[in-house]
């Protein structure tokens, strides 16, 4: 890609910084025991504060709390299974004005998740109704990596409860790379 094109792409990418990565989302269900039980069994996590109400009442939590790493689970979009593979795994038809389609169109079709940073402001309890907003935190300059040339895209998701109090955050970083440039000089 010519330098001018690289500069133009960089400018278009920069315009997304500080903008939403996707639309605000609302959890389809409040934090609830059946989904906690499903998680506890799937990961064989026997911490009694997640399911044993009597025991949990004796702890500093004062009652049942959800496993903290479930934070993102509560707001996962409801999937439309039919055709999901054809959509590359997207839960449903996504119309998002964010840097990913722009990078795909420019040839940076590869995606590699590189960092996840979860912060928990408080533990969630059954009945908590979550919603979230997202924001593009940064987009790197073009880097030469072992997978080819690409851009690191970082966004932050902020999770809030029914009173709009922040309960947690997640920073997520991916590398969007062009597999055809593998081995290219920097």
């Amino acid at each position: 890609m010519a330098d001018k094109e690289v500069d133009e792409l960089r400018a278009r990418l920069e315009a997304y910084v500080g903008k939403p990565m996707g639309p605000p989302a609302v959890a389809p269900d409040a934090v609830n025991l059946p989904m906690i039980r499903h998680w506890v069994d799937a990961l064989d996590d026997r911490n009694p504060v997640y399911l044993d109400a009597e025991f949990a009442a004796t702890t500093r939590f004062g009652g049942i709390v959800a496993p903290p790493a479930m934070l993102q689970t509560w707001t996962m979009p409801r999937p439309r299974i039919e055709g999901i593979a054809g959509r590359g795994g997207a839960p449903d038809k996504m119309i998002s004005d964010n840097p990913i389609p722009l990078l795909d169109q420019a040839g940076y079709v590869g995606t590699l998740a590189t960092n996840s940073e979860l912060e928990f402001v408080r533990y969630l309890r059954p009945g908590d109704q979550l919603h979230l907003t997202t924001e593009v935190e940064s987009i790197s300059n073009r880097k030469t990596t072992a997978l080819g040339q690409g851009y690191f895209v970082t966004w932050v998701t902020t999770y809030m409860d029914g009173e709009d109090e922040v309960v947690g955050r997640q920073l997520f970083r991916i590398l969007k790379f062009d597999p055809s440039t593998i081995g290219a000089a920097a």
Binding site: M35, H38, W39, D41, A42, L43, D44, D45, R46, N47, P48, V49, F55, A56, T59, R60, F61, P67, P68, A69, M70, Q72, T73, M76, P79, I81, I84, A85, G89, P91, A113, T114, N115, S116, E117, L118, E119, F120, Y123
Partner: protein, 145 residues
């Protein structure tokens, strides 16, 4: 099914350099699919081997929500039910795939007091034969005492 521990570590028992008891997770297709669906992640790469391989992966692979769940479990299995996870910050590397056990290891990197809590920073690593699957830091608190 094992029942979880009901006692917690005392903050006075924790010192920088302490090793967490290592934990080996026998990663199978079932482990990966169970975690993916419990976290409501229906991406085919986490349950469909052919799809994952067509995308260049060696096999179907564990989703990040499940990795975070096991990292959290690894730390609270050590610290006990009074432990409160404050953050899980990981760098992602080799995929977790069926037939490649994941070995979790950790070490106390730092401790401090904050109000009536002891705040513990744990350096964690989950690795398999392909390399480091996840490396990073978990910050967890326990009541002082």
């Amino acid at each position: 099914m094992t029942s979880g521990r009901t006692d917690s570590l005392r903050s006075t028992e924790i010192a920088v350099g302490d090793e967490l008891p290592p934990f080996d997770l026998p990663v199978t297709s079932t482990v990966i699919v169970a975690g993916a669906i419990a976290s409501r992640d229906f991406m085919p790469a986490h349950h469909d081997r052919e799809f994952a391989m067509a995308q260049g992966a060696p096999n179907m692979f564990m989703n990040i929500l499940t990795t975070n769940g096991y990292v959290s479990r690894f730390v609270t299995d050590w610290a006990g039910p009074e432990a409160m996870i404050r953050s899980i910050k990981i760098r992602l590397g080799a995929p977790a795939v069926p037939g490649q056990p994941l070995r979790f290891s950790g070490q106390v990197a730092q401790t401090s007091h904050e109000g009536d809590e002891c705040v513990i920073e744990v350096a964690v690593r989950a690795a398999n034969d392909l390399g480091d699957h996840a490396t990073g830091t978990v910050v967890v608190s326990l009541p002082l005492g």
